[in-house]
């Protein structure tokens, strides 16, 4: 097992000017499950393939442990691309299906058997080792495929959107399995997904990328509680954070009927480039309903109530028409989403007044999008 280090690693595709991955600096700890996440074209898969040796590193370097692998062939990097090939061989026993790569590598039979048995134990497949894949359930077959990677005892597992081909139910099941298996094995793992929920539920840490540039690395909690910029704030969390462009005046952030007090620290951090504006964000779940006229509250007209049993989400727009143009959420422009008590939700057409929970607002520079101190 080993650490993985991206040291100013860049990938520029021939014929393009903008790097697909731009001077990536990232340290993956030994045994860590790191998820690379971001929208399509953000460079997450390219980053993974650079580590795998499938993409050239045009500048910078990549290390596995202390070893510089920048110019090492993929097969000599001691990594395993998991789920590359699901195909199981029908005539071979489960044990042979798991161990055949070791046989090819010329490992002694006893060692192969030992490694296969160890892997089978972790995968709950011990009693099936002498059976044929046909006798296994779908989930068990997938574990055999994983076992194939495990017995090789690579330094690092790489997974590139491994669940994208599964239906929704199987996806949730498999992601839990992969995450818990990785914890048991303790093998450093780099995992790529476009799905932020997958990232939040699986990763020890998450690395968000956009346009080839690293936006933020941190634990799921870090990403959720203190997104470092507007992009991360809007990308992580479901439903997505409400983000509005507020005017700064009288020590407050103002939009329509909403007047939200700012601290001195925040006010001091605002620069001329911000042109008297600030981006203020709040998560749907970081609000509560108040009566009209409560300080720092604002009104929302309810367009739709989504009841999920454990939660209810109100989709609405700010009362002030003009103000509503300046706010957006996961539901789109001019839309606000707030979570309400599911036992007694408002009705469509109602007006509700909400207040952002103390310490739950997120403030970003209007000019740079970077998080402002509070």
């Amino acid at each position: 097992m080993a650490t993985v280090t991206y040291d100013h690693a860049s990938r520029i595709y021939p014929g393009t000017e903008r790097p697909a991955v731009d001077a990536l600096n990232l340290e993956v700890e030994d045994g860590e499950f790191l998820v690379l996440v971001g929208p399509s074209g953000c460079g997450k898969s390219t980053s993974l393939r650079m580590l795998a040796g499938l993409e050239d590193v045009n500048s910078g370097r990549i290390l596995i442990g202390d070893r510089d692998v920048t110019d090492v062939q993929p097969k000599d990097r001691d990594i395993a691309m998991v789920f590359q090939n699901y195909a199981l061989y029908p005539h071979m026993s489960v044990a042979d299906n798991m161990g055949f790569a070791l046989k090819i590598a010329g490992k002694p039979k006893a060692e192969i058997r030992q490694r296969v048995e160890e892997a089978a134990k972790i995968l709950d497949l011990s009693e099936y080792l002498d059976r044929k894949p046909k006798a296994l359930s779908g989930g068990q077959r997938q574990r055999v495929a994983m076992g194939r990677a495990i017995v090789r005892q690579p330094q690092v597992f790489l997974m590139d959107e491994p669940l994208s081909n599964l239906d929704a139910k199987l996806r949730v099941q498999t992601r839990t399995q992969i995450a818990s298996l990785q914890r048991r094995l303790g093998v450093t793992t780099v995992y790529v997904t476009h799905d932020q929920t997958e990232a939040l539920t699986m990763g020890d840490r998450i690395c968000v990328l956009k346009d080839g540039v690293l936006q933020q690395v941190g634990t799921p909690r870090d990403m959720y509680d203190t997104p470092q910029n507007v992009f991360v704030a809007g990308f992580i969390g479901s439903p997505a954070m409400n983000l509005g462009s507020f005017k700064v005046a009288d020590g407050k952030a103002n939009l329509g009927g909403a007047h939200i007090p700012l601290t001195r620290t925040t006010l001091d951090a605002i620069t001329d480039e911000d042109k008297g504006e600030i981006t203020l964000g709040f998560r749907p779940e970081a609000t509560h309903l108040v009566s009209e006229g409560t300080e720092a509250s604002f009104g929302i007209r309810v367009n739709l109530v989504e009841e999920l049993g454990s939660d209810a989400f109100v989709y609405g727009e700010m009362l002030d028409k003009e103000a509503s143009e300046h706010i957006s959420s996961g539901a789109g422009d001019a839309q606000v989403i707030v979570r309400v008590e599911p036992r007694n939700p408002p009705m469509k057409g109602d007006t509700v007044y909400i207040q952002i929970e103390d310490g739950q607002k997120h403030l970003f520079s209007s000019a740079t999008g970077q998080r402002l101190p509070e």
Binding site: N85, A87, Y89, M92
Partner: protein, 416 residues
């Protein structure tokens, strides 16, 4: 809940709608299925017969289905040997409203053989080698076009007979990616995947006692690496030498011929004072006529036989005044009206003498001689019995001379 199907296809066949899309592929009734061998696949795949074609239907995730469809279409445009995509059908559900996976539909490759069919029976001594050679040729060709396969294996490939050799076709592009150019890392990794998969597949046949011969599975698997590298270097390697060593140009071409490539063009450059010469071959595909005849008729014959048959087909097109007709139609008619009756007219006990295409070639020769003597055209119905009487029955039986290989081929041809 009624299903509302979304069908994506470049040339949709309305008959597709008659298939039971509301049933999971796994449970499709036998009446819809065509009996063809199935390879191992991580998805449910079924073969159906529709409007005279055989289609392969595969259940996969929606985004993956569209992606693979597009990739196969791109490969088709690049003229890479690959299965032909027919379309994607999404929005399937059962009458109870349960969602079903979208499917990718491809056209089954006529006269293609899965490797299992080739290995599972008597394996001629060099069948493995020839299959690996074919796969190496395909992989080089894919890599030259910038295609990274990601899951190179025998089961993701189909083989067609190619004048004693095999031609390989890509079947599964699910893990593939099309790039402007591949990095060495991508090529090397594809090769490594190929090596491991091939050995795994052969070990599987071995475990199933389907490998009759003692095949060294690891050695055969390693061969893909060697063959690929040889070919890649021969095709793309720039060779430099002194201007006095010009014989090396011819030597290079000869080496390429030995590898099975015709060289259409060699680019030669000299340095400023003309003391050093460097050459780089521009390679053309082998078997032009062979491919065209195969595409039109599915007949798998030698290159010269193919040229002969194509000429005859052209003559037939002119004689029947079908110059404006689609050549596929003409080919079909020619096959049914001319080629097949001729071959069928050969008595069963003489069929072991020559291969059908060779017999046909000789019949054409014979017709020419008869017409010369008579001074006018002779219809095939007279030519064929005369040929059998005066020529064919005096020929030795060549089947045994052609070797066990051909016997194997024939057995397979009838079976699949």
């Amino acid at each position: 809940m009624p299903q509302s199907l979304q069908i994506t296809s470049a040339s949709p066949d309305p008959a597709i709608l008659d298939l039971p899309w509301h049933i999971a592929l796994e449970d499709w009734p036998a009446e819809n299925l065509a009996a063809l061998p199935r390879g191992i696949s991580r998805h449910v795949v079924r073969f159906v017969r529709l409007s005279g074609k055989v289609l392969a239907v595969k259940e996969i995730g929606e985004s993956v289905a569209y992606r693979e469809y597009q990739l196969l279409r791109d490969l088709q445009k690049l003229d890479v040997p690959a299965v032909e995509p027919v379309g994607v059908i999404a929005g399937r559900s059962t009458p109870e409203g349960e969602e079903l996976s979208p499917v990718l539909i491809t056209q089954h490759l006529k006269f293609s053989l899965p490797y299992r069919a080739l290995f599972s029976r008597y394996l001629a001594p060099d069948t493995a080698t020839r299959l690996i050679d074919a796969l190496a040729v395909l992989l080089v060709r894919l890599h030259l076009t910038g295609f990274y396969w990601g899951d190179v294996s025998l089961s993701n490939t189909l083989f067609r007979r190619d004048a004693g050799e095999f031609a390989a076709y890509l079947v599964d592009a699910e893990t593939g990616d099309l790039h402007d150019a591949l990095t060495d890392g991508q090529r090397e990794y594809d090769l490594e995947i190929a090596r491991v998969n091939i050995i795994g597949e052969l070990m599987d046949l071995e475990a199933g006692e389907l490998l009759v011969d003692d095949v060294d599975t690891v050695a055969v698997g390693e061969m893909i690496v060697t063959r690929y590298r040889e070919l890649w270097n021969e095709l793309l390697g720039v060779e430099e030498f002194g201007a006095d060593d010009r014989w090396r140009v011819a030597a290079r071409i000869q080496r390429l011929n030995q590898l099975g490539y015709d060289v259409g063009e060699v680019q030669m450059t000299t340095d400023i004072d003309g003391t050093t010469l460097s050459i780089q071959p521009k390679v053309v595909d082998p078997g032009h006529h062979h491919r065209r005849l195969m595409r039109l008729t599915g007949l798998d014959v030698e290159e010269n036989q193919a040229r002969r048959l194509l000429n005859d087909m052209d003559t037939y097109q002119a004689a029947t005044e079908q110059q404006n007709e689609d050549e596929e139609f003409v080919a079909h008619e020619w096959l049914a009206d001319v080629f097949e009756p001729t071959v069928r007219a050969i008595p069963r006990d003489m069929r072991g003498k020559l291969e059908p295409a060779e017999i046909y070639h000789e019949v054409l020769e014979h017709r020419w001689f008869m017409a010369q003597e008579a001074g006018h055209d002779i219809p095939m119905s007279e030519v064929v019995p005369h040929y059998i009487d005066t020529v064919l029955q005096h020929r030795p039986d060549e089947e045994a001379i052609l070797g066990l290989d051909t016997a194997t081929l024939r057995a397979l041809g009838e079976d699949v």
